[in-house]
């Protein structure tokens, strides 16, 4: 098993939530845990205040999901890691 060279975090930001929303939730993870994703791939849909946003992979690598769908998450919450090799 090769060690991951870099680990990129996917977090909820103030920008994701926009003004006036305290929290949001993942609607759907489009790839399963451990899937290989490419930088820029839409990996999840995220719901804030009736608006569906796209979460993109910040890097090419292996997806490690940290938060299940439909759970309310606030600013700063860690959604996933991308391990690049």
């Amino acid at each position: 098993m090769t060690e991951a060279k870099d680990v990129f975090e996917v977090r909820v930001t103030k920008e994701t939530l926009g003004e006036g929303s305290e929290s949001g939730s993942i609607i759907l993870w489009m790839y399963p845990e451990g899937a290989r994703v490419q930088r820029g791939d839409v990996i999840a849909e995220f719901l804030v205040d009736k608006i569906t946003l796209e979460i993109q992979a910040p890097a090419t690598g292996v997806l490690r999901i940290k938060v299940p769908a439909e759970l309310a998450v606030a600013d700063g919450a860690l959604l996933a890691l991308i391990e690049s090799y």
Binding site: M30, P32, R36, V37, E45, K50, T52, G61, E70, Y85
Partner: protein
């Protein structure tokens, strides 16, 4: 193992990897592919270019293709339905978005008299390759004028193909088929199953792995979601997902239910219906449209016309009774073809109870 181990992301299959998608996103991918590859394809509708459509059917398309090809329309469905039909006769391939099928009434002259009949009346000189993409269904207290399915209203009219996919894989493949079809295709998606975030939790059975590239799913073939031997539950739209839940419930009682998704109302796969009912000998039809004069009756008529002797018990229908859909959530759910109603109907058919509980 080779000396140089390939990094996980260097997998050759990566570029074609499928993802789990909602129906809404999957069908949008098909629209995007067709618009990219065929300059004659364009989209018209209300709130589509900037907002992406009420149910996300055009999300991102306005930014990608511009205002010339993703065209916002005023609230005048009569006008833009005619515009689309005319454009189609002249060789374009319009996709018209009508967010709620409830407003089909003001579109009907353009659809039924022009789009549906011009190929026939012109002796084949004109084709009308047009897709009407529309949202159907109830379940979220949107009251009588924003909750209907109207499957039969459209399927009744000759010259119109009517399809209603129930999962993301079919939604994408059938959208490709619809856009490439040279006829008017009405593409009906239940709002509750389309997977748009604000409609609440996703219907899990509507999600599917969807390939990145283009592919087609043909019209006129049922899809057997779940095989069974005791009773066929033939369903359309969101009722398919209710039927799958009902089948789980029935399995606990030792009843093996087969769940058949019609997918396409016109053309209707009468052979596929017959094949399932001939196997199980019992039939329940679930449809969120009104009970009388509908798709449910058509399915039963198909069996009765072909061979009524395959039925071991009278068939039953689980539909919206012939009333307007209530705003009140408890009243609304009391008339929708939910899993408990479907399971009850299946149990009644199994017990061959010819008297009780008929609608």
């Amino acid at each position: 193992m080779s000396t140089k181990e390939a990094a996980p992301w260097e997998s050759p299959t990566l570029a074609n990897a499928s993802r789990t998608l909602t129906m809404c996103r999957a069908q949008r991918e098909a629209v995007e592919w067709e618009m990219t590859n065929d300059p004659n394809v364009f989209m018209v509708g209300e709130d589509i270019s900037g907002f992406g459509g009420v149910f996300g059917t055009a999300d991102g398309l306005g930014a990608k293709f511009g205002l010339d090809r993703v065209i916002d329309m005023p609230i005048s469905e009569t006008g833009f339905m005619g515009l689309a039909a005319g454009a189609a006769m002249e060789g374009m391939r319009p996709i018209v978005e009508l967010a709620y099928v409830d407003f089909i009434g003001v579109c009907f002259n353009a659809l039924a008299n022009f789009a549906a009949k011009t190929h026939f009346m012109s002796g084949g000189q004109f084709k009308v390759p047009m897709v009407l993409l529309t949202g159907t269904g109830a379940g979220y207290s949107n009251a009588a004028q924003h909750s209907q399915c109207m499957h039969a209203t459209l399927a009744h009219m000759p010259g119109i193909k009517v399809v209603s996919p129930t999962n993301a894989y079919d939604a994408k493949g059938m959208m490709h088929t619809a856009i490439r079809d040279d006829n008017l295709v009405v593409f009906m998606v239940h709002k509750g199953a389309s997977g748009v975030g604000f409609m609440g939790p996703l219907v899990k059975t509507s999600l599917a792995d969807v390939p990145q590239g283009d592919y087609t799913v043909p019209f006129g073939k049922v899809k057997v979601y779940r095989e069974g031997t005791d009773v066929s539950i033939v369903a359309v739209g969101l009722a398919v997902h209710h039927a799958l839940q009902a089948a789980e419930e029935l399995a606990k009682d030792g009843i093996s239910a087969e769940v058949v998704d019609l997918r396409s109302l016109v053309p209707l796969d009468r052979d596929g219906i017959m094949e399932s009912v001939a196997k199980t000998g019992r039939l329940v039809v679930a449809d969120e449209d009104y009970l009388s004069y509908g798709v449910s009756g058509e399915v039963i008529a198909t069996v009765v016309e072909r061979d009524p002797t395959v039925l071991k018990a009278p068939a039953r229908r689980v539909c919206v009774p012939d009333v307007s859909i209530p705003f009140s959530r408890p009243l609304e759910y009391s008339i929708l073809p939910v899993a408990s109603r479907i399971a009850d109907a299946a149990r009644a058919v199994m017990s061959n109870d010819r008297g009780k509980g008929r609608v």
